[in-house]
Every structure is written in C-alpha cells, then in structure tokens.
C-alpha cells in the first residue's frame, strides 16, 4: 500500500511540475493544487505506515492503534491549501480582468503603470 501511494505521490509531483512550468495561469494554479495534494499524501504515508492498527478512540481493546498525528496534520494542511487555492483563483480572475491576458509571458516585464 505504501509503495502504491509513494508512486502516486511521484506521479502527482510530475504532473504538478509540468503544469507549473506552463505559460497559462490556470494551469499553474492547478499545478500548485496538485503539489499540495502530493504533500498531503506523503505526510499520510510517513506516519509509521498507512494502517497498522485500529482507529483510535473507537475502543480501548485493540492491540495497536493507528498513528493519529498525520491525519490531524493533513486535515489542517488541506484546509490551508484550499484557502490558498481559492485565493489564487480569485487573483487569477482579477488579473485576467485587469490585464486581459492569462499568459504569463505577456504579464512579464510590465512597466510601472
């Protein structure tokens, strides 16, 4: 299971880097979103295995419990990445309205008004 997730993380990072390097603003934003998902999956995998025991707090008799910390961490990280992605999307929309382009090359070297 861990191997599968790790491969998936690699795949996500590949796609994200490809998207980040493109000229289109929306693609870049999608790239950052994918990148954060890759990080979340990696956090999940790092917590001493994905599932090695039963869920914490549901009973007191299990031999071992799954590590709850990574779950708490990614819960927070997901919320933050949603907020940042939402902000970036609005920013992209405003930039498009203001400059009339979403091509990052065209946005380069803008002189100070």
């Amino acid at each position: 299971m861990e191997t599968l997730i790790t491969v998936l993380v690699g795949l996500l990072v590949t796609i994200a880097v490809y998207l980040l390097l493109s000229r289109n603003l929306i693609r870049v934003i999608l790239g950052t979103a994918l990148l954060s998902h890759a990080a979340h999956l990696l956090l999940m995998t790092m917590g001493k295995g994905l599932k090695k025991g039963s869920a914490p707090l549901l009973g007191e008799n299990a031999a071992s419990y799954v590590d709850a910390l990574p779950q708490a961490l990614i819960l927070t990280a997901i919320v933050i990445s949603f907020a940042v992605t939402a902000f970036l999307l609005v920013l992209a929309y405003r930039t498009y309205k203001k400059t009339g382009t979403d091509d990052l090359y065209a946005l380069r070297g803008l002189d100070d008004e």
Binding site: S36, L43, T45, V84, L88, E113
Partner: protein
C-alpha cells in the same frame, strides 16, 4: 500555567476579528487598532521581564504535557522579536491613518494587518514545527491580501509571482515536516532536538535540514530573493514597510531556531552552506542596490543585504556573533521600516520614483531630509545609532571563529549600503530644488511623526544598549546552549 504568553498572538487576532465588524467606521477602527497595539507591546514587555526572573516560559495548550501536546514557548530571543514587531506595527499604523486612504480602510485593511501580526507573533512563539507551518500560513495569507489590496495592475502581476513562490515553499515545508516526522517521529522542537542528539545527525537528517534551509531561505530571501524586490515595491508604502521590516525576519527567526536548536550537529555542512549563501546574498543585494535607479528597488535590495548580514551571524555560530545578529535583527526591523516610510513619502511628495527625476527635496522638507540622513548613518553603523553595536559584536564573533571571508564581505556590504543610500541622498535631497512654491505638496504631520518616532527608536537603541544588553545576551546564551531550551520545555520527561 503561563497563560499570558498566548496574549501577543490572541490580542491581534481578536482585534482583527472585532475590526471586521466595524468596516465602515473608520474612526473606531483607528482607535481600537492603536489601543490594541499598545496592549500587545505592554504584555510583551511584561513577558520579557518575567522570563528574566523565571526562565523560559511555556504554555501547554489543553494541559497536554510536551512532547505530546502543542505548546507555546517564550524565551528572550522570541520575545525581543515580538516586542519589536508590535512596536513597528504600532508606529506603522499611525502612518497608515494619514496615507492609506478611505478605500483601503473600509476594505478590511486593519483587520488584515492584525492577522499578519498574529501570524508573525505566533511563529515567534510556537514550540512546535507544525504550528510554525500554520502560523507561517496565517501570516502569508494575510500578506497575500495586503499585497493585492487596491488591485493595481503591477500589484496583481507581482503578487502572482509572490503567491506562487510562497505556495511552492510551503509545499517544501510540508515535505520537510513529513520526512522529519517519518525519521524521528516527533514534531515538538525540543523533543526533536533530543531525539536527533540521540540518534546522531546522519546524512538523511542533514538532507532534511537542507530542505528546511531551502524553505526558510525562500521566506527570508537568503540567496533565493529573486521574488523580493518586485513584490516589495508593488504595494502601498505602509504595506511595503510592514513587509520589509517584518516578513523576512520571520524566516530568519525560523532559521535561527532550526539551526541552533535542532540541526546543530553537522555545522561543517549546514553552517558552511548558510555562510556561502549569506555571502552570495550580500554580494547580490549590493549589486542590485547599485544597479537600479528606482528608489523602491534600491530600498528593497537593502532588505536583501540585511538578510545576508544577519545570517552571516548564524553561520559564524558563536555566542558573540549571535548577540550581534540579534541586535542587528532588532535594529533592522526598526530602521528598514523607517527607510521604507521615507522612500514612500518621497514618492508621495514628488510623484516620481526614479532618483534622477527628483532633486533638492531637503530645501522643501528639511526634516524629512535629515531623517533620511539619520537612517543612512544608522544602517551603515555609525556609533551613536543602533547599527553600530551589532557590527562590533559580529566582527568580534567573526574574528573569534576565524571566518574572515564572512567578515570582509559583511563589512564591505556596509559600504555598499552607504553608497546606495548616498546616491538617493545626493540625487533626491541635495542639489537644486525642482519643486516650485505652487506645486509644493504639504507633508502631512501623520506621515512625519511615525518617521520621527522610528528615528527616536534607533537613537534610543543606540544610546541605551546597556538596558537592552541583559536581554540580548540571555537570548544569545539560550541559542548557544540548546539544553536550556530543552530543559525548560521537557522538564525531565523525555
């Protein structure tokens, strides 16, 4: 329990929330924001004095003892920075009253300033790596809003760069946290330090430490500063001053914590890399400060030089060098805010930003001219002002540890700072005046008073070093001996 140490974060946070409901009432927003900054300053000073008597304070949220719970830790280093942050914000707020304009004020400008401060103070106080990430994000998200607020074309374009870079570096931060947790199984900073000391900092941990170095370098503008000059010159003056004074310092603080508390075993690799990066930063910053003739760009590149200078102190890694770096941090937060304010005021008065296009401002605005002169002297490190003592300590530290190259570059960078600011002074303030009587824009009192307050602060720090010295030497001692911090946090239950 020391519930008081959560106050520097809670007060700005609550103020921000309250101010959201007072959107249209500009006057009450102003009064509440000033009162809240004064309260934060007062509380922080109380905490700093308690630390001197009782040692490092900590607060375990929900009563969960470390290493299991999340916690706030206040030592002299973090509290000194918290106090400076609160003072700088308070003075900048006065400048904002007369300069930012009603449109910003009724569009949640003050709430976001306070959220930014809450994030910054939280980053200084937290004793837990993941909370550091969260506080960083609180700070960054507010800074995204502040940099785009107003929606001018240049702001939007520059903020895309700024936001994307910061999202990337947050991603690296998360990956670093994931690997660190996977390797040593804890995120409490003191506990991390203990565990790493137990297993020894092997190659894997060194690689992770370099990953954190990349993250914090991106935030602090150490070598990876390409995003900085553009995005710091786009927003309105107050916001630029806030960014230039505070934002990079949080990255610097995090780097100090990481590389003095947690990853201090392989100094040959990590600290050498930091030293090389600091040298390159100072060189690059100096080149940038000389290359541009836009006053905002020159000022922004001065931020870059200061970052290199402070982290040279980290690279030397001796108690005296740390003292110098802490003095410089405090000094730089105040004087950079002043420098940004004066640059912004000059642009406001002349309507131009190229230094060739203005001349003789000192005839029309003598006070502003002399304030700029004081700033220049202070940044260069002329004795009665605040920059001097830090340079002395840093030089002493460099000679002690034998890092002569760092010393040479650090002191050379001072000359470049002087030269780049002298260019501004000669071009803008000296010479024939180009503004005739009719076009003379009156300099508002609300713009001049904050600058005077900052100037008083820099003189006061320079003259009153005696009063500051016990706190700074305590902070440097804690940085040099991580055991003090670990003992205060874990108190034996490792």
């Amino acid at each position: 329990m020391n519930n008081i140490i959560v106050m520097p974060m809670i007060i700005p946070l609550m103020t921000g929330i309250i101010l959201i409901f007072l959107r249209t009432r500009t006057n009450s927003q102003r009064i509440i924001s000033i009162l809240s900054s004064i309260a934060t300053i007062a509380v922080s000073i109380v905490i700093l004095n308690r630390i001197q008597n009782e040692g490092i304070l900590r607060l375990d949220f929900g009563g969960w003892l470390p290493p299991y719970g999340i916690l706030f830790v206040a030592d002299s280093f973090s509290m000194l920075l918290v106090i400076t942050t609160s003072i700088v914000t308070g003075i900048l707020l006065i400048y904002a009253f007369s300069s930012i304009g009603i449109q910003h004020e009724s569009m949640f400008f003050y709430p976001f300033i306070f959220f930014l401060v809450a994030g910054i103070n939280g980053s200084f106080l937290t004793g837990d790596l993941f909370n550091l990430f969260v506080c960083f994000e609180v700070m960054l998200l507010s800074s995204y809003v502040l940099i785009t607020m107003g929606g001018r074309k240049i702001q939007l374009v520059e903020s895309i760069k700024y936001v994307t870079i910061n999202v990337l570096s947050s991603w690296f931060f998360l990956i670093g946290i994931a690997y660190l947790y996977g390797t040593v199984g804890t995120l409490n900073m003191a506990h991390l330090s203990v565990r790493i000391a137990e297993v020894g900092q092997g190659p894997l941990l060194t690689v992770i430490s370099l990953m954190f170095l990349i993250v914090f370098s991106l935030k602090a503008g150490l070598l990876l500063y390409f995003w900085l000059p553009g995005s710091y010159s786009a927003p309105p003056t107050v916001v630029a001053a806030l960014f230039g004074a505070l934002l990079t310092k949080v990255g610097i603080y995090a780097m100090f914590r990481m590389f003095t508390l947690i990853f201090y075993h392989e100094t040959i690799i990590t600290h050498t890399v930091i030293g090389i990066m600091a040298i390159l930063t100072m060189i690059g910053g100096s080149i940038g400060a000389l290359a541009y003739n836009d006053i905002r760009k020159i000022v922004s590149y001065n931020v870059v030089i200061a970052v290199g200078f402070i982290l040279a102190g980290l690279a030397m890694s001796s108690e005296i060098a740390f003292e110098g770096a802490i003095y410089y941090l405090i000094h730089d937060m105040i004087v950079k805010a002043l420098l940004f304010l004066i640059a912004g005021t000059v642009i406001y008065l002349t309507g131009k930003s190229k230094i060739e296009e203005m001349s003789g401002l000192i005839r029309n605005y003598p006070m502003l001219g002399w304030l700029f002169f004081i700033t220049m002297l202070s940044l260069t490190g002329i004795p009665p002002l605040s920059g001097f003592i830090s340079k002395v300590y840093l030089g002493q530290g460099a000679i002690e540890t034998g890092s002569y190259l760092l010393l040479a570059v650090a002191f050379m960078s001072g000359i470049f700072v002087l030269y780049s600011l002298l260019r501004i002074f000669l071009n803008c303030f000296w010479g024939e005046t180009i503004i005739n009587e009719d076009d003379d824009v009156p300099l508002k009192k609300g713009m001049l008073i904050p600058c005077i307050l900052f100037a008083i602060m820099t003189i006061a720090i320079g003259i009153g070093v005696e009063g500051l010295a016990p706190y700074v030497s305590d902070a440097a001692r804690t940085l040099m001996n991580p055991d003090i911090y670990i003992e205060a946090v874990l108190q034996g239950n490792r």
